[in-house]
């Protein structure tokens, strides 16, 4: 082996070409990004730059009460024909006064401004006041005066080109701070908004985490790969979803009306909330014994299902009662608690949220339940029925299921694009779906298990990826339109983005868990749910916590700019001040963001260390 081989000519050429290529890329980059140092060197730019940097370096947080000493000096430019109008100021006074030499001048001339008897060590602007009104607030010039220990100063200034026959003025305002410093209005506003920002991030993170956890299991390949069902079961459970949701929605609405009719006073509220849960618990304990060694009889099964259904309805009734109680109590508390009124507000809103969400939750629960019951029915029938019967069942159910899915998709398209032609959005999809279903039913062997899990996994992943690619800022715009400008829109936007991105991160953690414990728990006879709870969950707790923290961190940072589009939080203030060129106020807000972000970073690292 010849290890110290001399570099060949070809190698040198390669290196040379590579270097040349790199240079080319960089050169083009300069062109594209418009690197221009000439601009940087120009005096105008430098001056503005220095001004802004100085403003940014002095965030508007503290201020003092100030006293001002204002002196207006009558000044003629150009010099008047009658020099007698030029008054010599009284120099034998203890009041502050200024002398301008020469006492009148041509526009554009440089004059000397001297001040006497001012407070020592104060600063303030020296300005030319155009027009013959000494109270005019429009001033010209940029000079600043600073008095020495005797209270005197000398400044030279250029007279602006504003010739006038009338008297104009040169004004000196010297300010000095008195008393203790106190917070500015900007500081107060910033404080309010940064608190809003932190809570916006907190709510969005909590909302996102809660919903991302179940999603992450569906989006995990290793869990879904093993989910396989025969066609009969898939078709039945697909049909079960919308049917169950419809039934559930109607039932819950009925319960809601019932609750509204009954629960119009607080005693009924309290009685329902205290007594019924006990009854429900009793019923559920009876219907779902902890250990079941023998298979129960058919009538027993029906009785149990009945009790569970009844308990569920009662449960939703309790929810409605709870909502009504919370809203009533909240209203009262908000009025009577004074500065703790926000607790009442919270209670009222919680009641409102429960009242709004209960029908949807009920519909979802009913859909899921009916779907899983029908699915199990399908599973059993495909295990027990003779093959021709299964085949017939599949030929009926599969087209129906797929046609239904297609029609639902068609209806969504109709809602979005308003085609207004039922051929495209109703009959067409129905026919295509039925055709595809028929094809599938014919092609599939009756007892074959189809990898439905992988299909669900792929669909979930696709939706998650599509939603994740929409920036939270864009989502905020949509939500601002839906719920109005303010932090609530920001919370929803960040929450949605949190759901999709956490679901992805979480599911990757689920995919990387050890398979051994999973196998061991399965071997004990645990079903899928139990396997997830006892083998998957313990393994994913640490990464889930650390990702949630990380996401909270991101959300705090995001919530600082979500206000740019009206999503609440400190971003609104920041953008406003930047647009008003009020850099000192903007600087205060940036400082607040920096402090909160670094605090968050510190807290999350401490928590991670403690928990994980």
């Amino acid at each position: 082996m010849n290890n110290n081989k001399k570099p060949s000519l070809w190698n040198s050429i390669k290196v040379g070409l590579l270097t040349f290529l790199t240079l080319m890329i960089f050169a083009y980059g300069f062109q594209v990004t418009k690197v221009n140092l000439e601009e940087l060197r120009s005096e105008r730019r430098q001056e503005s730059f220095v001004r802004i940097m100085r403003a940014l370096a002095r965030p508007e947080i503290f201020e003092y009460e100030q006293v001002e000493e204002v002196v207006n000096y009558p000044f003629y430019t150009p010099c008047p024909p009658d020099q007698s109008v030029l008054l010599a100021p009284d120099i034998n006074t203890l009041e502050p006064y200024i002398i301008v030499t020469p006492a009148c001048a041509e526009p554009g001339a440089i004059v000397q401004v001297e001040g006497f008897n001012f407070a020592p060590n104060t600063t303030g602007p020296v300005r030319f006041v155009p027009g013959n009104d000494p109270s005019n607030v429009v001033t010209l010039g940029r000079e600043n005066a600073k008095t020495d220990i005797n209270g005197d100063f000398t400044v030279s200034m250029e007279i602006p080109k504003r010739p006038s026959d009338d008297v104009q003025y040169i004004r000196v305002i010297l300010r000095r701070n008195v008393g203790a410093p106190h917070f500015t209005q900007t500081a107060h506003d910033t404080w309010d908004k940064i608190i809003e920002t932190v809570f916006l991030a907190l709510l969005a993170t909590v909302l996102g985490t809660i919903l991302a956890i179940p999603l992450s299991f569906i989006a995990a390949r290793n869990l879904m790969k093993t989910v396989k069902s025969p066609l009969t079961s898939i078709a039945l459970s697909t049909l079960g979803w919308p049917l169950g949701m419809l039934i559930g929605f109607i039932a819950i609405r009925w319960v809601g009306n019932f609750s509204a009719a009954i629960g119009s006073n607080i005693l009924v509220n309290l009685a329902s909330i205290l007594i019924l849960p006990l009854l429900i618990q009793f019923g559920l304990r009876w219907a779902m014994p902890q250990v079941e060694t023998t298979t129960p009889s058919q009538s027993m099964k029906f009785a149990r299902i009945g009790i569970i259904l009844l308990s569920a309805l009662l449960g939703f009734y309790v929810f409605f009662q709870l909502a009504s109680l919370a809203m009533r109590l909240g209203n009262t508390l908000q009025a009577s608690l004074g500065s703790f009124g926000f607790l009442g507000f919270f209670l009222f809103q919680m009641g409102d949220i429960i009242a709004i969400l209960t029908p949807s939750i009920g519909a979802l629960a009913a859909g899921g339940t009916l779907s899983s019951i029908l699915g199990r029915l399908g599973q059993q029938s495909s295990e027990r029925l003779p093959i021709p019967a299964i085949k017939t069942l599949n030929l009926i159910l599969t087209p129906a299921a797929i046609a239904m899915v297609f029609v639902l998709i068609g209806q969504v398209l109709e809602w979005l694009y308003e085609f207004d032609t039922p051929l495209y959005t109703l009959w067409g999809p129905m026919a295509i779906g039925a055709g595809l279903g028929l094809l599938l039913a014919v092609m599939t062997k009756p007892k074959e298990s189809l990898p439905i899990g992988l299909l669900i996994y792929s669909v979930t992943r696709t939706i998650l990826n599509a939603l994740r690619s929409v920036e939270a800022l864009v989502m905020a715009i949509v939500f601002v339109i839906a719920v109005g400008i303010g932090p609530f829109a920001g919370t929803l936007a960040l929450g949605l983005h949190t759901i999709v991105s956490l679901a992805k991160l979480y599911s990757e953690q689920v995919e990387s868990i050890l398979a051994g414990p999973l196998e061991a728990i399965q071997a004990t006879g645990a079903n899928r749910l139990q396997t997830i709870i006892y083998a998957v969950v313990p393994q994913i707790v640490p990464p889930y916590i650390s990702y949630t923290m990380y996401r909270w961190d991101i959300n705090v940072r995001m919530s600082t700019i979500i206000g740019f589009v009206g999503g609440g939080g400190i971003g609104f203030l920041l953008q406003q001040n930047i647009n008003l060129l009020n850099y000192r106020a903007a600087s205060a807000q940036m400082l607040a963001i920096a402090i909160v972000v670094s605090l968050m970073d510190y807290i999350s690292s401490v928590l991670r260390e403690k928990v994980v």
Binding site: Q379, G525, A526, Y534
Partner: protein
């Protein structure tokens, strides 16, 4: 009586892990399964509780066809088949007692598992099983704080919680030193002799086979190459099972 009939497993990649394997295991027998790594021992054991779906063939247990059982029937069958693993397969972050209680999951209503509740009797039973394998004092430690031998004992306690009639042991001592190996094997022997549990145990070391097994089946590239008593494995048989170049150790 467990009957394996013409069992064949072909993995998705086309690898034939089991090739037409048939044998019977009477109740209460201690059966050792031997063979080289990759000969199909693990696949065979996992086919019995259908952690791996066999491609063809039947497994009959007291006349019931395990391979044809539905998901619900499988839950009932699996809870009577305990299993211990080479790498113990404990849930590391859970407490020892939780790992042991997991053995009862096949009996418990899944709705109650959602809120992590076990009946009182089960908790007492779990403590008893831990006492039986001699590590009751570790009950509240995290599983990954235990040594290898202790972890395998937790694995055995978990399997015992199932009140098993069959115990599958997939190279239970391959990750342990020889002293611990004997301790673990004697636990299995105890379960076999005193509780009357049928044990199917895959093993690497022939001295363990001679010491503990009633009967031996040997696999080579998925085929059953030997079925008989441990003492019948002579040098000729040995070379047949492990290949011409193999040397006996231990």
């Amino acid at each position: 009586m467990l009957q394996i009939k013409n069992l064949t497993k072909i993995y998705d990649g086309g690898v034939k892990a089991l090739d037409n394997v048939s044998f019977d295991v009477p109740d209460g027998q201690f059966l050792a399964v031997i063979g080289l790594s990759g000969s199909g021992k693990s696949t065979l054991l996992r086919c019995i509780n259908r952690l791996i779906e066999p491609t063809e063939g039947q497994i009959l247990w007291n006349g019931e066809d395990i391979t044809a059982a539905s998901q619900e029937e499988m839950r009932r069958i699996r809870r009577k088949i305990g299993m211990v693993f080479q790498h113990f397969n404990l849930v590391h972050r859970s407490k020892v007692i939780t790992n042991v209680l997991a053995g009862r999951l096949g009996y418990i209503n899944p709705a109650w598992s959602l809120i992590n509740r076990f009946p009182k009797e089960d908790i007492e039973k779990a403590i008893k099983q831990l006492e039986r394998v001699g590590i009751a004092e570790k009950a509240n430690q995290r599983a990954d704080e235990l040594s290898g031998g202790q972890q395998q004992r937790v694995g055995i306690a978990r399997a015992l919680m199932q009140d098993p009639q069959i115990m599958l042991a997939d190279e239970p001592v391959a990750s342990l030193d020889p002293v611990l190996a004997h301790s673990i094997m004697s636990h299995l022997e105890d379960i076999n002799k005193n509780d009357g549990v049928t044990v199917l145990c895959s093993l690497h070391f022939l001295d363990l086979v001679h010491r503990y097994a009633d009967k031996v089946v040997a696999l080579n590239e998925g085929k059953l190459v030997f079925e008989g008593l441990p003492k019948d494995i002579d040098d000729e048989k040995f070379k047949e099972i492990y290949g011409r170049d193999a040397e006996r150790v231990g």
